[in-house]
């Protein structure tokens, strides 16, 4: 195995976990991790949460420290982006001109914030949040009393709004869709989230298009289609992400809403794998429907599985239940599974510990569970509910709705 060289492009969650897993699996050849950012691999979830609120200048939360990289003998090439893949010569070329040969290659290139296309003289001055540097730039402008406009009512937008509120900014959130959290979060939870934000003083403009964004001596002006203006000092747009597929596309790999991989996370070239936000894969728990996930746990788990599969000893399909979480104020929101195709929703009221919603298919199969509550007792219930969904259980609806029936007891029935 020592003649093999493992190369990973992208030093985020998926890439870093893959590098560590290759060693954990006993691979003893060279491992090279290529990242375009100057930092050691770091966790992105805190960027929209604690790191926007920290009073002291925040530091990235490193996934792999220098010591750990040395210990695992992982070569990190940071601040030097991969610019080209030569599949016939099995070489990755970097921006610096350096060439890195590979036996197996993992693409963990992530996704980039979708840019807002809009008229106006300040359309190019919006902030986007993906990298540590983005978080620092936003944090520096979130001064107490600053007027902040957040465009987009998804996780990034809402977390940023909550952080801005914590920094004592005056926050308006603009969502052009009919409600916040349209993607993957049921309306019951979206309502709870919106109520919590309103309680914190966030204003909402929902279901209204943005006409233009201009700047004058008083700051920025967001003009909405209903004719109103929102004046602000800082605009952050969180309107989704686009998978980073340039390298894959340029070398002729199949692309389908991201880099196309099979259930083993292998691309159309058997020597190249992909993992995390950049790839779409067929999910066996959802009729092999091809999905792409932008989620921390998925990046971590796919990175780990891709590493195992690259070594080819005991390859296994990737079949983890999708799982997302978001922290806003004192509340944590979680979604496990995919609710598309659910015909019934059962509510389980945990009182002060929050609420769970079970989304069942017509045949009674539990497809997804979502919930929100204060971090704490809620987490325990949510985890048990997630395990029920992992088992693709068909639990009795009346029992799910009854908080005096323990989920642990229900779970045992499906062992």
């Amino acid at each position: 195995m020592t003649d093999n060289e493992m190369v990973i492009v992208g030093a985020g969650e998926a890439g870093a976990r893959a590098a560590a897993e290759l060693r954990a699996q006993g691979f003893d050849g060279p491992i090279t991790l290529i990242g375009d950012e100057p930092h050691l691999p770091y966790e992105r979830p805190p960027l929209s949460k604690g790191q926007l609120c920290d009073v002291e200048e925040p530091a990235p939360a490193f996934i792999l420290t220098k010591e750990k990289l040395d210990d695992l003998q992982i070569q990190l090439l940071s601040g030097d982006a991969a610019s080209r893949i030569d599949r016939s010569r099995h070489i990755v070329q970097l921006a610096s001109g350096r060439e890195v040969p590979y036996t197996k290659l993992l693409l963990a290139t992530g996704a980039n914030p979708r840019r807002l296309t809009v008229q106006g003289n300040a359309a190019g001055e919006l902030h986007y949040l993906r990298k540590f540097g983005d978080a620092l730039a936003i944090r520096d402008r979130m001064k107490p009393g600053a007027r902040v406009a957040v465009i987009g009512g998804g996780f990034i937008g809402l977390e940023t709004a909550a952080s801005a509120t914590a920094r004592e900014c005056d926050v308006t959130l603009i969502e052009v869709g009919p409600r916040i959290l349209m993607r993957g979060v049921p309306p019951q939870i979206a309502e709870m989230v919106e109520a919590r934000h309103r309680q914190a003083g966030v204003r909402f403009a929902i279901g209204v298009m943005i006409e233009r964004i201009d700047r004058d001596q008083d700051g920025y002006w967001v003009k909405l289609a209903d004719g109103s203006f929102i004046g602000c000092d800082l605009i952050i747009a969180g309107i989704g992400a686009v998978p980073e597929t340039t390298l894959a596309q340029d070398c002729g790999l199949a692309i389908e809403n991201g880099i196309q991989v099979n259930e083993y996370l292998m691309t159309s070239d058997p020597d190249i794998y992909a993992a995390g936000d950049c790839c779409s894969f067929p999910h066996p728990m959802f009729d092999n429907r091809r999905i792409r996930l932008e989620a921390w746990r998925n990046a971590q788990d796919q990175g780990t599985q891709a590493a195992v599969n690259m070594l080819g000893v005991e390859p296994a399909p990737y079949a983890a239940l999708p799982w997302f979480w978001s922290d806003q104020y004192d509340q944590t929101l979680q979604v496990a599974g995919l609710a598309d195709g659910a015909s019934t929703t059962i509510e389980r009221d945990l009182n002060e510990a929050g609420k769970l919603f079970f989304h069942l298919a017509e045949d009674g199969r539990l497809l997804s569970v979502s919930g929100m509550g204060p971090a704490g007792a809620f987490s325990k219930e949510m985890r048990l509910a997630e395990m029920l969904a992992e088992k693709q259980a068909r639990p009795d609806a009346a029992l799910l709705a009854d908080p005096s029936v323990k989920l642990k007891t229900l779970l045992r029935e499906f062992d």
Binding site: W296, G376, S379, K380, R383, L384
Partner: protein
């Protein structure tokens, strides 16, 4: 450093089987576990990944799972068993006397 001493943490009945509770003592926080076999164990209260109370986590058999990012530890040894945790959890000796749980810290 003072010598380790036995501290009363809770009553046996305070912890259900296959569950965990939080125990705060002076400026420290601990987690007291009862496994599915009814055995008691104790560890530091916070996960080693981020400062988050393990007492809100789920006990399955003799494993505790952090509710925040699903890192897992062996309750008996404190060994880290699943990413993102990579640092073991510190554990403490436990004894039961007169239906009370004591931990040695």
């Amino acid at each position: 450093m003072t010598n380790p001493q036995w501290i009363e943490a809770c009553e046996v009945d305070d912890v259900e089987e296959e569950d965990v509770i939080r125990f705060d003592h002076e400026d420290r926080t601990f987690a007291i576990y009862r496994t599915d076999k009814g055995e008691f164990f104790a560890s530091d209260g916070y996960c080693t990944h981020e400062k988050f109370h393990l007492s809100n986590g789920l006990v399955m058999g003799s494993t505790i799972e952090c509710p925040k990012h699903n890192g897992r530890f062996d309750i008996k040894t404190g060994a880290a068993k699943r990413t993102p945790v990579c640092v073991d959890l510190r554990t403490y000796p436990v004894k039961i006397e007169n239906d009370k749980v004591f931990i040695q810290i």
